[in-house]
Amino acid sequence: MKTVDDFVTLLRDELALPVTADDLGRGLDTVESWDSVHLLALCTVLERETGRSLPLADVLEASSLKDVYLLAVAP
């Protein structure tokens, strides 16, 4: 997973979330079908896909999907 599009595909395929790139900047509370438990599943999936360990405490404090994406692709 490298690009924003990859990230959106992953959200749709893995978490069955009906999101588009436009939704990434929204507050998590306003994302359709979003539930706080998705964040845990998303961490697991991202770590599997990127083969890297994520700073979980930071991910859990993310306010938007874009924040999560930036943490996942941070060098």
């Binding site: 395929d13 893995e14 438990v37 599943a41 405490a57 859990l60």
Partner: protein, 624 residues
Amino acid sequence: MTDTTADLREITAEDYPAVRGLVAGLEGDALVRAGRALARLDPGKVLAAHPGTPAPLIAVTGHGTLSALVPALTGELARHGLLARVRLSDFDSWVFDLADPGSDLYAAAPSLVLCVLDPALVADELPLPWRVEDVERVLDEKTALVERAAEVFAATARGATLVLNTLPLPRSLTAQLVDLGSRARLGAVWREANARLLRLVETRPEVVTVDLDPLLAEGVAAHDVRQSVYAKAHLSDGLLAGYAREIGHLARQSAGGAKKVLALDLDDTVWGGVLGEAGPEGIEVAGSYRGEAFRRFQAVAKQLGSQGVLLAAVSKNDREPVVKTLREHPELTLREDDFVQVRANWRPKHENLAELAADLNLGTDSFVFVDDSSFECGLVRRELPGVAVLQVGREPALHVERLLRDGWFDVRALTAEDRARPARYREERARQDFLHTFESLDGYLRELDISVTLAPVDAARLDRVSQLTLRTNQFNLTTRRLQPAEVRALHDDPAVRVLAIESADRFGDNGLVGVVLLRRQAGVLHIENFLLSCRVFSRGIEQAVLGAVLGHAFDSGATEVRAAYARTARNGKVADFYPRAGFETVREDADSADFRLASRPAAAAVDHIRLTARFERTPSEDRR
């Protein structure tokens, strides 16, 4: 991403029956992903579109964050054609949920309650600093609390099942103790608490305890420490997925979907090599590296067979060398007598399986089929979607793991009937052969010399009664499934008679083959259910027993007898069982009917059966 996931994301409630086929071959992450996609569906809409879908309500409660269980359970139940309705409790509310009979959990009336326990249940309550004695005290308190919860559960959630689990022992706890003596004692007290949870099953028929140790021994991590610290998810997703798989089998079995037959391919499944090419002396069955692997697989099949699983061989081979090999090969572990049928011919395997099912009077959905050929596996999957198809690979050492990875043959309790079942089916084959020597069925039945006993069931065999209600699909008038605790409650109810039907004939004892549930209310005798094992119906036993029940009803002063029929996909052949016995239909729609009989019918004796009937209980039947 697979095509399957794409298909599942598009799926609507109307398509639900197709889901089982789509998820059948999925494992691990792919199945959880499928579960997430399926969890979007509104169960109400699925049931509106397909009212016959079995949809157990599963309440999930426990100590930590358990959200990962929802997609895992959804996926696992879908594999069995079930629709999971999962009710997830608030975080750490298990004590309130289970110890308070007025809780919302009990009000929701789930059929399955998962109380998921984890090591933090204990670790969170340790003082600082702590010693082994503290762990022992907290474990003791918590197990006592679980036992108390199970007691309230038994009294409150009649007929439901409570699932507990053992607590994994994390190294992050043991390694905090630096002296090895204390560390060993911690291991001992921890195991003792787990043993107490496992032993609860012995005294509480409504409890199932899932032992997590065997799952952990396969190499699944017990937890992801960051998820545990940050999100209070104290059991790993992988462990919860393995746990959910066991729950899937429990739910399938509770819904009447028990697997009864293990049909095995022979070449490269039961033995190494192709019999037709290598000959009996060339196949690998023992001794060599690969031979030992096949021997191990045969031993496991035989072990399953000893517990009531019917083994059958389905092989593309000439019949004669196969039978000769199974009979005479000196090193084979599985022999001809271990199989209820050996079908060796060149016809498609799905046809052989369908005929085998007809011979055994079972549905193909009670079959598990093992083969190494992807062609055969694919064909059976396509032609007989209810069959659980297990494809084994080229590495025979993994055959056993493939067979046992899923608890296809899991049952709540094993009865004496289970152990005797393969022998009974072999007797049945002798009966069939005997039948072919007669001109008419009447002559056959007379020569069969059938004796039947109808009497209140004794307390020691309530498990068998429960099992019959769970396993019997065809001759089952109302298909009300009863868990062991429910049967016990009926047995203890003075207004109810739980009558066992036992039969025997010249070929042997058939054992406990049927159940009649009677309830007396004022002057009316209600036949709440009537069920008979598929092994023995159409021999007149059902008519003889019903005749005795009706005679008893009017002899004992009943003014009328009431009975009911509830239609399922499998019990159409008994829809007119009561009307044919003289009952009038008082109400009828597409799904069910109620019947009434106001006077003794003209006795139609079944003269080829010797029937002994007793309706009153003796004190010895009440003891356990």
